[in-house]
């Protein structure tokens, strides 16, 4: 079975960088859903982050690009938060509007940066981070040693989110706003303020996640390059029941299938390429159905107030 081990190691190594965008976006969405909102516009914000990330990187290097992605995501998160919180727009409508704006504006930005006919500038990308000591770990060693700083940053973000939600009073208050806003307001917690802050954070995280897509790899923007990662992040948040570590796991499962799909393009894995490409979404969908069904059963048994 010596042929099999390196195969899976390669698959896992390929999956690790693919997780990162979903992890960032999903963690931001966790914070937003804690506040009781739902951001369908996440994909648009990621695309904007990707375009801004390339622009920023061309201007000031890869970390500047990441910051630019986060900034533009946060700005659109603010627009979302204001439209829904103060403007009383339905959150789904606002999300759809932001998806349209994001899809369009990201392409506009790209076409301004790299108009047809000019040479395509490649933006500086993520510095490679080699940890040769980890090479020897079986199966995941290849992945861990080759994963760039972005991945570890996202894991750090997950840990920070977990800690903040559990050990800070603000984290508890945020969750009470989402669970029982009337009770929270009655106990002196400003629902409006927390929801707006959460929207900004969610947008920023989506923007960073989007920026990671080009900046961890090819260094250029292509329209639609996030490929539904934002929507997958929404599903992952539900599947993981808003647990930051569950988010890591869910994102990884999606990325694993994605990695297999990429691999299937170069070697024959037995099943048609398109099936491998569909599998990440199908698997996410299946997990979503299972998670929803479980939640229904649990809810039936909990004594309700």
């Amino acid at each position: 079975m010596t042929g099999a081990a390196p195969f899976w190691a390669v698959v896992i190594a390929g999956a690790v960088p693919l997780c990162t965008p979903v992890i960032f976006a999903a963690l931001g969405e966790v914070v937003l859903e804690d506040a009781g909102r739902f951001n369908v516009g996440i994909e648009g914000m990621m695309l904007l982050g990707a375009a801004a990330g390339v622009a920023g990187s061309l201007g000031g290097g890869v970390w500047c690009g990441l910051a630019a992605g986060g900034a533009i995501g946060a700005a659109f998160g603010l627009i979302f938060g204001l439209a829904v919180g103060i403007g009383a727009v339905d959150e789904v409508i606002a999300g759809i509007a932001l998806d349209l704006i994001g899809v369009g504006a990201s392409t506009v930005l790209y076409q301004i940066l790299a108009p047809a006919g000019h040479s395509n500038h490649t933006a500086p990308v993520e510095p490679s981070m080699n940890l040769p000591l980890l090479d020897h770990v079986p199966l995941i060693g290849l992945a861990l040693s080759g994963a760039g700083p972005f991945f570890y940053l996202s894991v750090g973000f997950a840990v920070a989110t977990w800690w903040w939600r559990r050990f800070s009073r603000a984290g508890l208050r945020l969750r009470s706003v989402g669970f029982m806003p009337i009770v929270a307001e009655a106990r002196g917690i400003s629902v409006r303020r927390y929801q707006l802050a959460a929207a900004v954070v969610a947008g920023g995280a989506a923007g960073v996640g989007g920026a990671v897509v080009p900046l961890a790899g090819i260094g250029v923007f292509t329209p639609g390059m996030t490929g539904g990662a934002g929507f997958v992040a929404l599903a992952v948040v539900i599947i993981a029941r808003r647990n930051p570590f569950g988010v890591l796991g869910g994102a990884f499962v999606f990325a694993l299938f994605n990695s297999l799909a990429l691999l299937s393009q170069t070697r024959d894995l037995g099943l048609p390429v398109e099936l491998w490409q569909a599998l990440p979404y199908a698997a996410t969908l299946a997990l979503l159905c299972i998670a929803s069904a479980q939640r229904r059963r649990v809810r039936a048994h909990v004594p309700s107030a």
Partner: protein, 341 residues
Amino acid sequence: MNVRSLPAPLRIAGWIAAGLAVVVALVMATGADFTTAVTGWFSGAFGNAYGATQTLLYAAPLVIVGLGVAPALRAGVISVGAGGQMIAGALAAATFALEVAPGLPAWLGLPLGALAGIAGGALWALAPALAFNRLGVSVILFTLLTNYLAVDLLAWLLRTALRDPAGAATPQSAPLPAGYLLPQLPVPGRLHDAVLLAVAGVLLALWWGNTRGAFLVDVAGRRPDLAARCGLPADRAVVLTMLASGAAAGLAGWMQLAGVDGRLQAGGIDSIGFAGLAVAVLGRGNPIGILAAALLYASLTTGANGLEMVTGTTPASIGTVAQGIVLLSAALAMAQRRSRT
């Protein structure tokens, strides 16, 4: 004059105008001056015969998808699956045309092709409805994910079973037999007969909107208990309206196949799902309003195309940005009215 006391359509138009002003500002930021921006847009959308027919061509499927999604919206179900349902409809119609009965004459091929499209789209929409009723899965997420599945399914079939035997660089099917192609209208540019279906659809929707069924769907969205008592329980309302939206999208997919492309082609999910929903929201569920909103949206796309040709610096995708801004502005306008009481 108190702004809030203006009648709703005027106020919404006002907000939309404000939104369009933002768009124009963005266009100017890309290097065009004001007059070029505005005139370029108009000429692209309505100015010449070619532009006008393009606008109508874009608007027709948008009207149908918007009309299809409106009842579901009334029932409280938000579906953005039109993209995947269109693909499913086109697939069903193409399979029927190419594999099942290729030799049919037009008077059979067209209606049967349309029916196949309707069936394909409706079936694709059944899954999210059932998943919502039985398992409580969000319709939005289900339809978003299955959109991608549809794209992959199409790609696979185009590479294998439905592959064009003549071979081609891009994945595509064999051209549809003549009996399945929509005749073109005698106007400059390509405009197929089935755009008239959009008009028929508006008339049908106008009729349906006045029926008991539409009334109960409305009630099901607001007071599900009352609707259940009057014969329309909530889960049935969900299934029926989702089937309708799938059928409409499937029909639109067939229209695209039989009237524009002439053969099945690979493609990603464009924003038709979002645009169709946006059009239904802008039209506030009213068929005439949806028609107007679809024309507006289509003109935003064609206008942007025209603008790109004129200026050379403004990218055409600003049309999508405009669509999003218009939706947001209109939604803000409509929400203001609600919060007034």
